[in-house]
Amino acid sequence: MKLYTNEHEWAELDGDTATVGLSAYAVNELGDITFVELPEIGQSAKQGESIAFIESVKAASDIYAPLSGEIVAVNEALEDAPELLNEDAQNNWIMKIKVSDASEIDTLLDEAAYATFTASL
């Protein structure tokens, strides 16, 4: 089950590891994605702070960590093929975070709450 931030990241938990991506809504808003700057493995992430960076043809945008923890994996395929996010944002992940504070999970939005949020934008 995916959970969302109001900065349009999604997080899917498996044990204490969260797989993180960008929502289809966000990718559609950005348009054609041309560049993804991934974090370093081992880097620490703090909830709500910029952890990666993405560019589309006409815009640039930060990606914020949905949860605090340690970066344990990054999707290197995006470095050569950032358009994978346009093709399928919900299934092409960006990074994995080993979550350090499980209580932060409660601050995320579920699918329905996120849909309500994007409908209000």
């Binding site: 348009g31 054609d32 041309t34 560049f35 960076f53 560019e55 589309s56 043809v57 006409k58 640039a60 950032p82 358009e83 346009n86």
Partner: protein, 357 residues
């Protein structure tokens, strides 16, 4: 105070195509339909269709040689052959660019000026003040402009044209008809591809737009248009050109006709030629997927020497590309260049135009 954006006669067509709109030069224009990359691709390999009706058209009728109109811009309309158009500049006395424009010589007493949307009022006032006789009419609001650009544009447009499009050389045009209404077909464009700019009345525009799509042209927004023009290194008013910049500084002095006529701003340009320019546009690439952006600062040897005026990721090049002004005295052709942004530095590499051949 926010000014209400104007809409072209094709606005409803764009909405029907799910366009994403943007304010541009006072107009609400489609920045993209489905995808900037796909629309760019359509132009480079097929045919792309652009609504450019926001641009302005002025019509002059009178004595071209003696009315003052021939010194209004950098182009010599007396020398310009009938049926040809030419790119040039409307300058102030200091040689600064009030606007860049294309002027069409319809016949020996008629000209059409095509100007940027955001500059329509200023240009009209300036040109009018430089003319002593004849009439100048602003028909921007009753003239629609549709550009069809790309290698397949000729075969598509030929199905609607009433003459052989092969007759038109580059920067050639013909006053003709489309759907039995008066129209101008011009072998020009802002993409570097084979293409045509079509001037029609507001009633014909929606019919023409639909028919060209039916024949295979792909609607494309200003996003793709900006990438296409930058890949060829074409200037955009408000970015590479403004009232504080001369054509020489923008690197496009070659379009100024110095020898055969006098024009407002000429003395200042000649003086600058003697004294030298203090800033100049340089083209550069990032040799990576990073895109330069308008406003990024250009550094060399830890010193700020300039600023980016246009930048994008260029699909035809496979790299970020940009144009920017640098201070001529500070710029060292042999030292490394970098952009400094809010999130670190991006190395850049000076290159030659066009980025895409």
């Amino acid at each position: 105070m926010e000014e209400k954006l104007q809409r072209t006669v094709l606005f409803d067509k764009h909405q029907g195509l799910n366009a994403r709109n943007v304010g541009f030069g006072g107009w609400e224009m489609p920045v993209q339909y489905e995808s900037v990359i796909k629309e760019h691709e359509a132009c480079r390999n097929g045919a792309a269709l652009f609504d450019i009706s926001h641009m302005g058209e002025f019509f002059y009728e009178g004595d071209i040689a003696n009315s003052g109109v021939n010194s209004a811009t950098t182009t010599d309309f007396v020398k310009l052959p009938v049926g040809k158009c030419k790119y040039g500049f409307l300058l102030n006395e200091q040689g600064g660019v009030i606007d860049d424009l294309i002027v069409y010589k319809i016949d020996v007493t008629h000209l059409m000026f095509v100007v940027n949307a955001a500059r329509i009022d200023e240009d009209f006032k300036q040109i009018k003040s430089r003319i002593k006789s004849g009439t100048l009419e602003n028909r921007s609001n009753v003239t629609a402009k549709i550009d069809i650009q790309g290698p397949k544009s000729k075969e598509i447009l030929q199905q609607l044209a009433t003459f052989d499009l092969g007759e038109l050389g580059y920067f050639g045009f013909k006053q003709t008809t489309l759907f039995e209404k008066s129209a101008i077909i011009s072998r020009t464009g802002y993409t570097g591809e084979l293409g045509y700019e079509l001037y029609v009345d507001n009633d014909t525009a929606p019919i023409l737009w639909d028919k060209l799509i039916e024949l295979g042209a792909v609607p494309a927004g200003l996003g793709a248009r900006d990438v296409l023009r930058l890949e060829k290194g074409y200037s955009l008013y408000g970015h590479e050109l403004d009232v504080d910049t001369t054509p020489a500084e923008a690197g496009i002095d070659c379009f100024v006709q110095y020898k055969t006529h006098d024009f407002i701003g000429k003395d200042a340009l000649l003086k600058q030629k003697e004294e030298g320019i203090s800033k100049v546009i340089i083209p550069f690439t990032t040799n990576s997927k990073r895109a330069p952006r308008n406003g990024f600062e250009i550094y060399q040897n830890d010193k700020k020497i300039g600023v980016v005026t246009s930048g994008t990721y260029a699909p035809s090049v496979g790299s970020g590309i940009g144009l920017g002004f640098v201070d001529v005295k500070a710029y060292d052709e042999n030292a490394n260049l970098e952009l400094r942004t809010g999130r670190g530095s991006i190395p850049i590499y000076k290159t030659e135009l066009p980025f895409y051949k």
